[in-house]
């Protein structure tokens, strides 16, 4: 077996094992419901999608600003600035905050509708 395949198996194995363990702890020890797990997965996907939207938005505005600086002001700014990992990390913080904010608002509305 080559080292890359071995590495993949290690990663998948460890993450799979901790996922299973946390499911067992959550459902048996903490009494969390399986229905809530599917709702949590849906919210997680919502957060990731929102992060993607913020990432694309930030990179598009960044690219437009760089090209604008080049062609309008005549100042060279490298497009490689968009290659920095910080864009994704900050976009993730923005996206998470936005998605959780929206989810919190939705939860509050659904509670007030029920009462």
């Amino acid at each position: 077996m080559n080292s890359a395949t071995e590495m993949t198996l290690w990663i998948v194995g460890v993450v799979g094992a901790t996922s299973l363990a946390s499911y067992v702890v959550g459902s048996r020890s903490l009494g969390l419901s399986t229905t809530d797990l599917s709702a949590a997965l849906k919210r997680m996907l919502d957060c990731i999608g929102t992060i993607l939207i913020f990432t694309v938005l930030n990179l598009a505005i960044g690219a437009a600003a760089i090209l604008g600086a080049r062609f309008l002001i005549g100042r060279f700014v490298s497009l490689y600035f968009l290659n920095d990992d910080t864009w994704v990390v900050l976009s993730a913080l923005q996206g998470l905050t936005w998605a959780l904010w929206r989810q919190a608002g939705r939860s509050r509305r659904s509670i007030s509708r029920r009462t």
Partner: protein, 225 residues
């Protein structure tokens, strides 16, 4: 329940509600797409297949000059970046094999201590390359400007055939640019992607390949190619 309108809702709000509900589902669907793309990119050879399909294949042949493109400059202590060093060593190796009589180092030279092109030229001399056989080019901000500068340097010397040395992903854009500048290009991509990659390396490969594809599209749209 979800469709029930409150007395406060105007007809406009009611009519927009289905559209808003569909729009609210977009992030979830995008999230699903991101997870699917992540799994396919990290755990299958998709990144390798894509990189291979757009790669410029090596073509090592005798030429008039070896052109080594800039890569990330040098540190304030004068140390070349990993990419810059790898490209420089590859260029020196081609010269020492007698594939061309001239070695050109392009570089990002913001000041004397970080003069990538001169540090590379000095390195070549350390390996026994005659200073008369080494040319340097600096001040270009983009690959397109590098092509124009190298043309200005080599065209008067009658150089038309070049061995172009750069990273495999950067070669996707660099080779067409130098061809467009009028050179016959023999591509010498350094650090070609391996098939035996771990998940993190596959994601890096995909990112590098996509970046160059986007850059190539931009160059085509801007009319540089």
């Amino acid at each position: 329940m979800g469709n029930s309108a409150t007395p406060m809702d105007s007809p406009l709000v009611c009519s927009l509600r289905p559209a808003m509900r569909t729009l609210a589902r977009v992030p979830t669907l995008l999230g699903l797409g991101v997870i699917a793309l992540f799994v396919v990119s990290a755990f299958t050879p998709m990144a390798n297949v894509l990189a291979q399909s757009v790669a410029v294949h090596p073509e090592i042949a005798p030429a008039d000059a070896i052109v080594v493109l800039a890569a990330g400059g040098a540190s304030s202590s004068g140390a070349l970046s990993d990419n810059s060093l790898r490209r420089a060593i590859s260029g020196i190796d081609l010269y020492l094999k007698g594939l061309a009589p001239l070695l050109v180092f392009s570089g990002n030279d913001p000041d004397a201590s970080r003069a990538e092109s001169r540090i590379r030229a000095h390195l070549a001399q350390e390996f026994g390359v005659s200073p008369q056989r080494v040319l340097t080019s600096s001040g270009a901000n983009t690959t397109r400007e590098e092509a124009a500068q190298v043309k200005g340097l080599l065209w008067p010397r009658g150089v038309r055939n070049i061995l172009l040395v750069t990273d495999a992903d950067h070669m996707i854009r660099a080779a067409p640019l130098f061809t467009h500048a009028g050179f016959r290009v023999f591509a010498v991509p350094v650090n070609e992607p391996e098939w035996d990659l771990g998940p993190g390396d596959r994601l890096d490969l995909l990112r590098g390949t996509l970046r160059e594809i986007v850059a190539l599209l931009y160059y085509k749209i801007a009319g540089y190619l």
